[in-house]
Symmetry: C3
Subunit: 306 residues, 3 copies
């Protein structure tokens, strides 16, 4: 394991190692407070993503390391026409590890081919965002105690939402997972996912367009944002964005230990009136994102607690 | 004391504690060089303010802590429609304390209600900017030796200048302060300040529109910038911006130990020909801003020198 | 030596001291990993330059120090009309040393006159960029073993390219250097360089407009980018930008130990098909830039290994 470009780069056992390490960090964060002393993380964000960038920075600082980088393309050499391949070869001389966010699919993969330091894909277009998937898995494992025997509801924009696609890909590798896919017709999961991932692996799933009626079955409900930038026209966006809003009334139908996750930022797909419900764990999830990135950085840098 | 949103959140004795600690730090900064080791400050600047942001960052670094954050709204999740309440709940998992600058009045107050870490208001619109007030008070205390028995001149834009309003609110709590309010008619202090603060507290004050003639009375002269963005039209700005420029000639009328303060940045309301006058202390004032923020961060994080 | 504004601020012996220190750092970087503990570098970038900024930041972090600053003018107080003189006086209270990039020639020199901390010019318009020159010299010294007895080819935009001008100025102070100046007629070196530097010092040089034929003579080939922003019109840029592209075919004419340098970013003036040629050292050069900045920061801060 040298780079992390797609969530599927990790075998289930490598994934488990990272999740186990993250859980050890949660237990005793002080033990890890200096393991990356004198190590530097470069955050190369060709498009802004404050949450993801700050999560990486917090992770590296928590490990005693330091951070340099840029937070948007205009303040980078990209504006002068430099290729990602050239940039990463230079950055390899400046830092020990890097996290790259890029609007173009495949850019972090290209970078990894020219890099002499580990490259973490921090999101490439609508493609991959593996540390979000690690975050989701850690949240489930920590708060449900397991990654198998789960009925997982995925709700919202299932067509364009890369976090949902990655999560499905990751979860099908565990035992006895079944999916409830809740979306408007227009925003169902892509055909390749249905055929090549779910059906090819004999995974139990159903597709519905009413959130309320499936609530009682779910162990987890993963809500997603309807992203304006993924729509072809304003009209479709306005018609669909408020579909499938989760509120206190719908939560009444849920199991007492069902968990609500969300990759954040939330706009209005989860009503704020459920924020105080103990089953609403999306803010905890954001914090787990820091721990899992700490574990990932440690693994990729091959540092250990002495 | 959990957050600092308005300068009046602090009682006089809490204020004195912070100023005393700042003075101890000035005496022996090395003693405090590691007190915030492994602590993280998040600088959440929804509008740019380099000076304030760097002052906070320098303060945290001087205490041995580290910093993460953003310096303008476009590189933040705000662009994706996230609420301040959601952002602060996420940031609470990333950092130990935060400083927030926001163009909207009240945003830091909202944040403080949802935050599990201390929130410092680093300026909200034309409303509050409590660390500037702390800076002003520390400068006066350090360089005049007292915060009572002072005749304080306030000059420039007294209508829109929030630093002036905060400073008046803070100083009326000390003994025997009298104000000389120097401004064009159009830029006098708001009625509520005159009636509810000055007159309600029986504070001695006068309002004049000629700087020169009151110079001999002043112990302190607090100059302020005429901010273009506060004016309703260009014409008014141009007519008024050069009023009340302080220069070497006017300084001849001042007491030999009168101090000139300014929150900076200065445009042209203080002529550069007085920069070398020992009574011009505005650059020292900027440095005191670092010390007082160090003290504030320590108080809010409840860290102590061992 | 208090500031570094122009490469010629350094005597040859001061330059040698910095290069020697950089070479010691390369030998044993760990020895220097804490020498700037508790020191702060301010990176004041009034125009974006990711590579240069990150190189400074990496340098300071490698020395155990920390960094604060801004990466473009819009997030700075410059937007509020503050002068460089005022900014640097404030920053002097926030940091121990600063690196300033500015679109206006002379801005770092002005800053140095008002600063109480060392100022390093990190590029001022088309004027000076002394740390690039230090980087170039360290690369030559490390990889050729000497800074004298060299035939140096300079290729590309020799009229507007400040790195080339600085390098010529620096190299004429060493023994037995001869230059081969390779450019289109329109982009030859300025008259003052030809007359006041090369001819006044009796330096051997020739000006040619075909790269291929002079390849066999060169010990070093310094390639430069044709910068769009230096051209008066689009047409000239398009006609000239592809002149003098270095590729594998031309490399066949070069000596087996000729080195290719480039200040980066490269656009297309060096074909990527020579990146794997061991003589192509431009990415190493970028890394040497970190080491030489470490040495410079140490010298200016007068810190030493204990």
């Amino acid at each position: 394991m040298k780079h992390l470009i797609s969530p599927l780069d990790l075998s289930v056992s490598e994934l488990d190692e990272i999740l186990d390490l993250a859980e050890s960090i949660i237990q005793d964060p002080k033990k890890y407070a200096n393991v990356c002393h004198h190590k530097k993380l470069a955050t190369l964000f060709y498009e802004p993503s404050t949450r993801t960038r700050l999560s990486f920075e917090a992770a590296m600082l928590n490990l005693g390391g330091s951070v340099l980088g840029f937070s948007s393309a205009d303040s980078s050499s990209a504006a002068k026409g430099e290729s990602v391949a050239d940039t990463i070869r230079v950055i390899s001389g400046y830092a020990d590890i890097c996290a790259m966010r890029h609007p173009k699919e495949g850019a972090p993969l290209v970078a990894s081919k020219y890099s002499s330091i580990p490259v973490i894909n921090a999101g490439d277009g609508g493609h991959n965002h593996p540390t979000q998937t690690l975050t989701d898995l850690l949240t489930m494992k920590q708060l449900k105690g397991r990654l198998n025997n789960l009925t997982v509801g995925l709700c919202g924009d299932l067509k364009f939402g890369r976090t949902v696609h990655s999560l499905i890909n990751a979860l099908v590798r565990y035992e006895n997972i079944s999916f409830v896919l809740i979306s408007p017709e227009e925003l169902r999961i892509p055909t390749y996912l249905r055929e090549e991932v779910l059906e090819a692996n004999n995974i139990s799933y159903k597709e519905v367009n009413v959130l309320e009626e499936v609530m009682p079955e779910l162990d987890l409900l993963y809500m997603t944002r309807v992203q304006k930038e993924r729509f072809f026209n304003e009209e479709d966006y306005i018609r669909l964005k408020d579909s499938f809003i989760l509120d206190r009334k719908k939560m009444e139908y849920a199991k007492p230990d069902m968990l609500v996750l969300h990759p954040l930022p939330r706009v209005n797909e989860i009503s704020t009136d459920i924020d105080d419900d103990p089953r609403a764990v999306y803010f905890k999830q954001a914090q787990f994102g820091v721990y899992v990135r700490m574990a990932l950085i440690m693994k990729l840098l091959e540092v250990e607690v002495c």
